[in-house]
Symmetry: C3
Subunit: 160 residues, 3 copies
Amino acid sequence: MDTTKKTIILFSGDFDKVMAALIIANGAAAMGDDVTIFCTFWGLNILRKTEKVPTEVKKTALQSMFGRMMPKGTKKLGLSKMNFAGAGSPMMRKATKDAGGMSLEELFDSALEQGVTFIACTLSMDILGFKEEEMIDGLEYAGVAAYLGEADEANVNLFI
Amino acid sequence: MDTTKKTIILFSGDFDKVMAALIIANGAAAMGDDVTIFCTFWGLNILRKTEKVPTEVKKTALQSMFGRMMPKGTKKLGLSKMNFAGAGSPMMRKATKDAGGMSLEELFDSALEQGVTFIACTLSMDILGFKEEEMIDGLEYAGVAAYLGEADEANVNLFI
Amino acid sequence: MDTTKKTIILFSGDFDKVMAALIIANGAAAMGDDVTIFCTFWGLNILRKTEKVPTEVKKTALQSMFGRMMPKGTKKLGLSKMNFAGAGSPMMRKATKDAGGMSLEELFDSALEQGVTFIACTLSMDILGFKEEEMIDGLEYAGVAAYLGEADEANVNLFI
């Protein structure tokens, strides 16, 4: 076991939970820890490119619908509570800015710059119909076995 | 400590979160790990028999209501997000099937076959009025002390 | 590593999730474990004094709104599911009492009496505009680095 390794399963795509995950990841990385965030289900959304990407692979009607309805990147995420039909996140963003905190985008960029590893869950991608060319650069692609391998080497493993 | 032991507290009864828990449990079991899923609150629903079971023990009006309103087994679970008044889970089921993934029922059966231990939280059962004869076979029944005993021996402990 | 230490990040302010966190914390403390609950985002609500506290520090309009809309203490928390516009928690409270279980307030008091450490996340407080004089006595105030320091010494770390 290695006390300098942490893993987070980011299952949620809620603004506030993603923010919590990225704050923990950045904090651990700043302390010299090796951090892996395994993004699955709704958590995959933060890894999607915001622009429309033409893909050669045909999607099912359901997958096309998931693709249209689910947010791309961190900018459109809603709050898990008090979302007020979408007004909640902008309010939380403003309050964070007023408090001098980093924005969700800055936290995400900082995590990437600090070397946090983002793994996109391939099973979830297959189900939701997300293709690698639709995802941002610099990701790893793997399944639950890879997560478990990382978690076995870490001393803090969270499911968010 | 034992790197071959994992525990999951399954608090959620949401289709997508139960699916995540079972995928992790199956993956770990397939790698030879000893896995315990401690089902509590809404997570107890997956352990309920789907058929109506006559119980001799009288339930309070509240407990009868909980029993009627909460889903029995894995088939009626809703999504945590984009549930669309119940249409979300069937869509996620179809997308999973299209992708060649295991159904929630197959994942659950596989977990049982691979020897994953399911513990039903007795305090939650007392509160919700669930009786042992209403639950599927092969479960263990215990409280938080048992969970903590398992978690102390495990190297990955998740709350889902 | 120390098998007698546990940490919980309490991110949620839902009645049922707070209850689960406090049951685990009390159980671990009763077994002699050193338990830290790091309260962040909605989880901060349980640490707020229920009475109105005049603060000299001026809040932004957003922070005043957060302060008014978010529950103070444990008594007004809603359920994560089946909340029925607020009727869910009183039903769960009654069912818990009928079953002879401890109330949320008793669980919280017991945790404090057993020496569970509650840390209020200072970043979340800055964002939401919560001031120390608005919080109950006996808390510690710290950020993610303090959490990570505790988690590195613990063998069970949960995100609830």
